[in-house]
Assembly symmetry: C2
Homo-oligomer: 363 residues x 2
């Protein structure tokens, strides 16, 4: 498949929901597959909180496979023999798009001078990218988790720009519990003295705090059932408890590994900004408090997918969106899939998800 990594500078300053504008805005993005002659086969793929543009090709830092290789590629459910897939790194992130670690106009990194952004700001930047690429109307916008928020935001705010909207394991608003877990992560980062009010570029980054934040988030990505099946109370490389504070249990070892591995590839300030954007997300609030109003102007077809073991964005959140789409008269299909893995199911080997994705994009 044709794979291309590029960075584009938006020609215009980006207006922000919080007021003011961001300029310059660079967007790092990856494309897979060829754009057809009439430009009608483009799919915008939106990544999750800690995701990036490396969907179906190795991650440049970790060398690991792309985060959705099983879904995106030749003959895969998002078939790059048929579709031109564009995956941009969201603004605020740290994989090439403009974010807190980027150089600000004064030559220093933004750090905490970076503006607080919203999910809609991220999508506004995506629209700027599509404009620059000459792509008018997408075949589809697709995303899971925070990617699903972007997909819904695009459908609500730029309804003419897509024919299909596929939103997986997501929500139209962050709940109090969602905000609580994110706030916990932010406080862990800010409690790390190395965070230094965000000014750590060129020095030691607040890896300890970021690792704790990642551990907290990771617990929410897995179901209790999945943790029990995967680890239970099994001990890690030992026969008996050590009566100490090493990682006696496999689940402890796993979490420590997840936490420390994450710090190699992610910027702590980006974690603050992106979690904030997610917590601010409330699609109904943006549309007069009535979620159905967000979808009044859409002509797209929608597909919502949830997982029965996802306690981060439980099925009720998807159903809430479906009811709003029904009220707006938009065509929508909805399926709750059985999968034991929790929220992370959307990234894992769930054949039923493959069938739903392939079928919906063909429709």
């Amino acid at each position: 498949m044709s794979i291309s990594t590029q960075t584009l500078t938006l020609p215009d300053p980006l207006p922000l929901d919080g007021g003011g504008e961001l300029a310059p805005v660079e967007i790092a993005y990856q494309t897979y597959g060829e754009l057809d002659r009439d430009g009608s086969n483009a799919i915008l793929l939106c990544h999750a909180l800690t995701g990036d543009q490396h969907v179906a090709s190795p991650h440049p830092v970790t060398g690991k496979p792309g985060w959705w290789e099983r879904m995106v590629g030749p003959g895969r459910p998002i078939d790059t023999d048929r579709f031109h897939v564009i995956c941009p790194n969201v603004i605020g992130s740290c994989m090439g798009s403009t974010g807190p670690a980027s150089e600000s106009p004064d030559g220093e990194p933004y750090a905490m001078r970076f503006p607080v952004i919203t999910i809609r700001d991220m999508v506004r930047a995506h629209i700027g990218l599509l404009d620059a690429l000459g792509i008018g109307r997408l075949h589809a916008v697709v995303g899971g988790s925070m990617g699903g928020m972007q997909a819904l935001s695009l459908a609500a705010n730029w309804p003419e720009r897509t024919g299909h909207v596929l939103a997986i394991a997501t929500t139209s608003r962050h709940s109090a519990q969602n905000i609580a877990f994110h706030e916990l992560g932010r406080q862990a980062i800010m409690a790390d003295p190395r965070w230094n009010q965000g000014d750590y570029y060129g020095g030691h980054s607040p890896d300890s705090g970021l690792a704790v934040a990642r551990m907290a988030a990771h617990i929410t990505y897995l179901s209790e059932e999945a943790l029990t099946a995967k680890f239970g109370r099994n001990l890690q490389d030992r026969e008996v408890k050590t009566f100490g504070f090493d990682a006696d249990f496999q689940v402890e070892s796993y979490l420590r590994y997840q936490g420390s591995g994450f710090t190699q590839r992610f910027d702590a300030n980006s974690y603050l900004y992106i979690t904030r954007a997610m917590d601010y997300f409330d699609l109904a609030e943006e549309h007069g408090g009535v979620l159905a109003n967000a979808f009044r102007d859409t002509s797209a077809r929608f597909c919502l997918v949830s997982f029965d073991s996802d306690w981060l964005y439980p099925t009720g959140e998807s159903r809430h969106v479906v009811h709003a789409l029904n009220a707006a008269g938009a065509p929508v299909s909805f399926v709750e899939l059985g999968a034991p893995h929790g929220h992370d199911s959307f990234l894992l080997d769930i054949p039923a998800l493959d069938r739903v994705v392939r079928g919906f994009l063909d429709g």
Copy 2:
């Protein structure tokens, strides 16, 4: 009611599950109500992770009411006009019983030289206290959460010492998810440079890390429903989002308050040791891998109570204990109460719980 605060030094060294022994062992405890002449009306009340002996009288540090004032007192469900209630501070804690902040035999605080203890070690210390007080057989042992673990451990390991066992919102073993949340808290504490490998007594304590640990735990104590009902997406003392990192949402403000308030009254090393004891808790493992074996020698009556919104120790955990008690032929009653508050329900105003407690202790 007669209230008495005392500290007792156990006459003998305390053997520990991890090997070795602890000496001297001081137990700070509180009693409410009079012991009757034949010593048959004593109730041992076991506190939870961050609880203490101040059940029904003001906390000496915070000045707040005792943690179970609504349950314990004259005419209350645990009626101090009838019962002599003894509530000891667990070893490893920080309210007067021997723990990591205590002076070790060399005159310095134990800090991380304190031995890793188990729930059974805590109960062994309670038994030492009862022996010293001349109380042979309790009318009942009662506890919620970690207090319930102690109640079950006492019934399993000192079956002749109690006639009734009331275990509320608890479990016979910590699950992978339970361990994960505790490990997250421990890592938050240990990531705080002020923790300094546990040697912070006399200097600055690791309040930032401990506050993050408390925030994580606090989220698990409340149901998603309770968080939504209490806070939803309400903003804190403002009309609009600030597009900054202050506590915009009420739930953020609440968690920060819970975290920082906790550091005033709790020792970070105690948090490490007590969470470790809970994670190590597996009553079946102590008895050949068969939970029913833990209860073969008991002649006590049992009552298990769970709450339908408790996702920390869900009803299935109580049911698991009930099945083991059934298999052991022990008399047991079990009720799952409807309450929206999550795990913390056992501390809150649930009239049905009052009725269950009163009725069971009268039986």
